[in-house]
Symmetry: C2
Amino acid sequence: MKKNVLIIGAGGVAQVVAHKCAQNNDVLGDLHIASRTLSKCEAIIASVHEKGAMKGTGRFDAHAVDAMDTAAVAALIRETGAGIVINVGSAFVNMPVLEACLETGAAYMDTAIHEDPAKICETPPWYGNYEWKRRERCAEAGVTAILGVGFDPGVVNAYARLAADEYLDEVASIDIVDINAGSHGRWFSTNFDPEINFREFTGTVYSWQDGAWQANRMFEVGQEFDLPVVGRQKAYMTGHDEVHSLAANYPQADVRFWMGFSDHYINVFMVLKNLGLLSEQPVTTAEGLEVIPLKVVKAVLPDPSSLAPDYTGKTCIGDIVKGTKDGQPAEVFIYNVADHAEAYAEVGSQGISYTAGVPPVAAAILVAEGTWDVKKMVNVEELDPKPFLALLNRMGLPTRIKDAAGDRALEF
Amino acid sequence: MKKNVLIIGAGGVAQVVAHKCAQNNDVLGDLHIASRTLSKCEAIIASVHEKGAMKGTGRFDAHAVDAMDTAAVAALIRETGAGIVINVGSAFVNMPVLEACLETGAAYMDTAIHEDPAKICETPPWYGNYEWKRRERCAEAGVTAILGVGFDPGVVNAYARLAADEYLDEVASIDIVDINAGSHGRWFSTNFDPEINFREFTGTVYSWQDGAWQANRMFEVGQEFDLPVVGRQKAYMTGHDEVHSLAANYPQADVRFWMGFSDHYINVFMVLKNLGLLSEQPVTTAEGLEVIPLKVVKAVLPDPSSLAPDYTGKTCIGDIVKGTKDGQPAEVFIYNVADHAEAYAEVGSQGISYTAGVPPVAAAILVAEGTWDVKKMVNVEELDPKPFLALLNRMGLPTRIKDAAGDRALEF
C-alpha cells in the first residue's frame, strides 16, 4: 500500500491531475505539487479548494523545484514522504525525475515519452533511447514505473490490450485515432505545450507495418474516418509514443497513429515549419542574440490553459483493432468521447488536458491499492486493463465499443 | 562641385550603390563604404574590383562604423573628406546619419523613410515625424538632403512630377504600382530586409484621397493591373513613403501606392502576422529570454542578397497619373522595366536592389555636378526630374511612357 502523491508540473494537465487526486485523497493520502514556478502550483491548489474537490481532510502543499535536478527532486520526495510521483512536467524532465524515483523507491508515472531538448524524433523504438535503458535498474530496485499513462499514450494502450485479450484471437492491425472536434475560438492555438505539440510533427512519422519501421513525412498519409459523435474527420498518420511500445508488444500487428488536423492547422504548421520557425536549433539574430525559434513561437501563441473557459465540442479517441475471431475477420473500435465544457466545469481545464490528466490518477490509485504496483518498469499494455478502465468509467472517461454487435458502453 | 562619397550600409542595395559609384568615380571622386561589419564592406569592394567596375583610378576604402552614433559618423565624414553621404543602411539610422551631415555640411541622401525601431506606422504624413522637422536646420546650414531617392520612393516621385509638368494640365490621381514578376526559386523570401519589408505591411495603410488621409488594413483593397511586359498582376493598396510627400506636393490629387503580392506571400504574411511573429515589441520566452519576434523571423529567412544568382524575370514599377489635358480627360503610365538576371550580371545584385540602388548614385552625380545641390532638404518631386531621368536612361533604368500616343521610350 503506497501513499502520498507528488505531482511534478503545473500546466493544464497538472491542473486535472490535482483535481482528480483531490477527489481521491482518501486513497492517495497527502498531496504535493511542485514546479519551477511556485505561484503556478499555488494557483492550482487554490482552484482545487474553490471547487471543494478535496474528498477528505488532508494536505495539499505547493513546492518550487527544478525538475531537471535529480537530487532536488529526490530531496522533495523524501521531505514529502511521497510514495507515488505523477510526472506531468515537460517531457524534458522525465529521466531526471525517474532517477529520483530510483534513488528513493517512489513509484513513477508519466504521460509522454522523454525528450532531449536538442533532438527531434530519434531512432525507433523511441522508448529504447531513454526509458527502457533503465528497465533493469527499476526491476532490481523494485521501483514501479508506468510509462505513458495519459490517454494517448496510456488509455489507448489499454484499449489495444483489451481488444487483443477479449475481442480477437489474432491482431492484424492497431490504428489509434485521435480527433479533437472541439473549437477554442482563437485564430490559432495548440491544445497543449506548443513546443511539445510541434516537436511531435516536425520529425519523421514512424509506423510499424509488415514487421518493420516505416518512415513517412508529416501530412504525407491522410484518410477520412467516420467516427461516433464527431462524424467524418480527416486524420493524418503521425509519429506518437504508443506506436513504439505497442509495436514491441504486438510485433505481428501493424501499428499506426492518426491525428485529426484542420486545413487551417496544417497551413499554419507548414508555414512555420518551412520558414524554419519550428526548429529546436538556435539561430542568431542580426543583433547577435542566440534564440531557439520554436521557443519564440511558443511565447507568441496562446497559453493552452487559457483556452479552457471558451472551449466547446468533443474529442473522440480510440483504437480501431482488426484481426480474426473464431477464424473470421473481425474489427472493434474501442473509444472514449469527452466534452470540453464538461471538463472545464468539473476541473477548470479543457478536454485535451482532461483526457491526459485523469488516467495517471487512476493509475496512481491502482498503485496505491497495490493492483498495479508491479515493482518494475512497464508500458500500459503490459498491465491488466480492466481495473484501469473500470476506474476510468467512474472517473469521467467512460469506455465504449463499436463492433458488429453495435455501439455500446463497456462495463468491467 | 562636391566630391568624395561615403556609402553607409553594406546590404544588397549598398552593393549596387558601390558598383554604380565605381562606374562613375571620375565624377564622384574617392569612394568609402562603412557599416557595423567591416567584412561586409570589404566583400562589396572586392566584388567591385572583380567586375573591374572602377572607371578611373581612385580609392575605395572600407570602414567600420555604428551608424546610430552621430559623432562617429561625423568623424568618419571628416576623416574621409566625403562631400556626399549615400545612406542605404537600415531605416533606423537615417536621423543619426542626417545629423552627422548637418554637423559636417556633407550632402545627405537616403532611399527609405526614417523609422523608430519601437514604432510601426506613425501618424501621416510620415515625413513630418522625423525628416521635415529638420527642414529648417538644413536650409540654415545649407545642407543638401534628398529624401527617398531610391526607385519607390524616388524615381516614381520624379515620374509624378514629369507627368504633372509635361503631360497633364491638372492631376486628379497618382497611382504608383510596383510589380515584381520575378522568381527567386525559394519557398519564401522577402526581396529586401525582412524587418523593413514586414514593417511596411503590419501597420495602417494610409492613402491620400479626396483631400484627406484614408486608413485601410493591409490586403483590404486590391485590384488587377494590366501592365507592359509583366501582364495582368494583382496588387494591393499599401502604405509607402512617397504617398506622404506627394500628398503634400499634389494635395488636390488622390495618391495611392499599390504593390503586387502572390497568394503565397499573403498567406505566409497573414500567418506570421496573426500569430504575432511580426511584432516589433519584445516577448519573453518560458526560459526568461526577451526577444523581438520580428528579428527572429528575419534570422530564419533567406538573406535577400543571397537570392541574386538564381533570380529570373522582371520588375515593372511606375505611375499611373490621371487628370486633364487641354480640357479632356487624360492618362499616362510612366514606368521602368528591370531584369533580375541582367542586374546580377552587371553588379551582382537582384533587380529589387538594382532599382533601389542606381537612383541614389544618379542623385549623387547630380549633386556632385551642382545640378541638384540645392542646399536644403527636399523630396524628389521638388527637383527637376529631367536631368535625373536622363542619367537613369544611361545608367540602366530607362524610362518609358504609355499613353494615348502609344508605348515608347522617353528621351530627355
